[in-house]
């Protein structure tokens, strides 16, 4: 069984790679951009799900850590000329002006800096719980944004950064997404992952079982910040411009929505919801334009897309309160049990 699952996973990864190769050849830039964006959302949703879904920490700080990652990676990869062009109001701090790293090391540095920010914030805020934790993380992510806006000689302030190298290709974003999925699957099914879930299910009992609850929470928060930083960096390298206004609460809200929709504590749920939400949001763009429904004609109602999307969201939440997947996973074994995979057993298929 284990061997079969491993083979199936590899086959699925190969299939995905094949489809992406075909897609980037025939689908055109716009469609691929949407697909790549959904891969970035996979990383971000998993980052938040690690906290909300697997450790039971209600955090709303994603956008702050994304901002840290995006700025670090952008500043590390831009050429000195582009930097000079960007920083026309006030020159960039000399230490950073000449520094340049290749894309992948810069991505890792982005994650590490976000993780460091996460660690620093975790130490005070993780003494709080539930709604208080949510408010504190939200506050800290806003503080990060304000700091970025005002650190003119480091971040170029409100003007933001332009002409960031467009390094977030289909392969890098989907590769990162695949790594994130693999990492989460391995972590949550390990002994360490069980400690996270124990903290989520019952902190008092976990502590009484010898789990160092605070340390486990800090670890989870730091790892999640790392992933958010990488996701934010990828986003910057895809859009090629970043500014502080990009990283408001709305961004965190989108990610939270994906996590809740997919199911708190479900990796496959987050993946499915990331792709579905990103694609649907684009697919429904026609709703904002002029509509001809036979009897009803509109000249274009900007915002109708969000109305329809919100209605769909409500429907999901009403009919599946715990999201599409709940806290279950779509695994090969589950597929086999439901008869969707052919079984090889003596006496024919079951």
């Amino acid at each position: 069984m284990k061997k079969r699952n491993a083979i199936l996973t590899l086959a699925a990864a190969a299939l995905l790679a094949g489809l992406l190769a075909l897609g980037s050849r025939y689908l055109g830039g716009y469609a691929m951009r949407i697909l790549n964006l959904s891969a970035i959302y996979v990383v971000l949703a998993l980052s938040l799900n690690l906290l909300n879904g697997f450790t039971g920490l209600f955090s709303l700080g994603s956008s702050g850590f994304m901002a840290v990652g995006a700025y670090v990676s952008a500043l590390l990869t831009m050429s000195p000329e582009v930097k000079e062009m960007n920083f026309f109001l006030e020159p960039l701090a000399p230490a950073l002006a000449g520094l340049r790293l290749p894309f992948i090391p810069a991505l890792a540095a982005a994650g590490l800096c976000a993780a460091l920010a996460g660690l620093v914030i975790a130490l005070p805020v993780l003494r709080l719980r539930d709604d208080y934790l949510a408010i504190a993380t939200l506050g800290f992510s806003e503080i990060i944004r304000v700091l970025i806006t005002n650190a003119q000689s480091l971040t170029n302030g409100a003007q933001g950064l332009k002409n960031i190298p467009k390094s977030a290709t289909t392969w890098t974003v989907w590769g990162t997404a695949a790594l994130a999925v693999a990492f989460m699957a391995l972590l949550t099914r390990s002994s360490y992952g069980r400690m996270l879930k124990a903290v989520r299910d019952d902190e008092v009992a976990a502590e009484a079982m010898g789990v160092n609850v605070f340390r486990v929470k800090v670890a989870s928060f730091t790892i999640s910040s790392f992933m958010a930083g990488v996701g934010g960096a990828l986003l910057g390298h895809m859009i090629t411009t970043i500014d502080p206004k990009m990283f408001t609460f709305m961004l965190t809200f989108n990610i939270l929505l994906i996590v809740v929709l997919g199911g708190n504590g479900s990796i496959t749920g987050s993946v499915i919801a990331s792709i579905a939400v990103t694609v649907l949001m684009e697919a429904m763009r026609f709703l904002d334009g002029p509509l001809n429904l036979g009897l009803v004609k509109t000249e274009g109602l900007p915002g109708l897309r969000m109305v329809v999307f919100s209605a769909m969201l409500m429907a999901v939440v009403i009919f599946r309160q715990r999201g599409l997947m709940g806290d279950r996973e779509l695994t090969w074994d589950a597929l086999a049990d439901s008869g969707l995979l052919p079984r090889r057993r003596k006496g024919g298929a079951a």
């Binding site: 972590l187 992952g193 400690m195 124990a198 019952d202 009484a208 609850v213 790892i223």
Partner: protein
Amino acid sequence: MKLETKSITMRFGGLTAVSGLDMAIEPGEIVGLIGPNGAGKTTAFNMITGVYAPTEGRVLLDGRDITGWSPHRITEAGIARTFQNIRLFGTMSALENVLVGCALRERPTFVGSTLRLPGYRRRERESRAFALELLGQTGLAALADEGATGLPYGVQRRLEIARALATRPSMLLLDEPAAGMNPQESLELMDFIRKVRDEFSLTILLIEHHMQVVMGVCERMYVLDYGLTIAQGEPEAIKRDQKVIEAYLGVE
């Protein structure tokens, strides 16, 4: 292990929940802590296990001062507990619940467990074997893969004990292990507690309301009333103690 409390006191604002509790529990004993509702029994447990830091007094484990330690350190030092209102990990199976207890001695690291390094794999195999063995010894082997919250009440209590044993304690604190059990189950529980003590060479301190269980299984007991220790001694002496009869067993 020898557990001593040196006049531990717990005050919540103006309320003194436990006042100057002195206990000395010798290795291998089964000792009861009884008293009417609100007498401060669970508060005493919480002070010993680190959930509360005592307002005054000290808790000594084999002479070592563990007062004010955090609960996970106290568990590591060898005191495991169960809860009055069952606190199992709701989304996990019976086996996984016990495995969380095993993690204390397994000490999984983040990197080791995510990358499935050889050392982690070996220790995880050992933990799994130990957890299954514990489930077998507590009569839960057939239920290993069942969801913990779906199990019958009495079984959940035994699972909590199995989970506590997984931390490899030398002392076990049971908070009302017989709560909600019928007489037959209570009798079985008494045998079970003795068996566990002998097999795992434990010292046991238990809170219990069920008099048959307390008198049947405990070798010694302490009686609390309104936070004060009103009596201590062997079951027969406690039964005859005038103060205990008034406070607890009812005046005849």
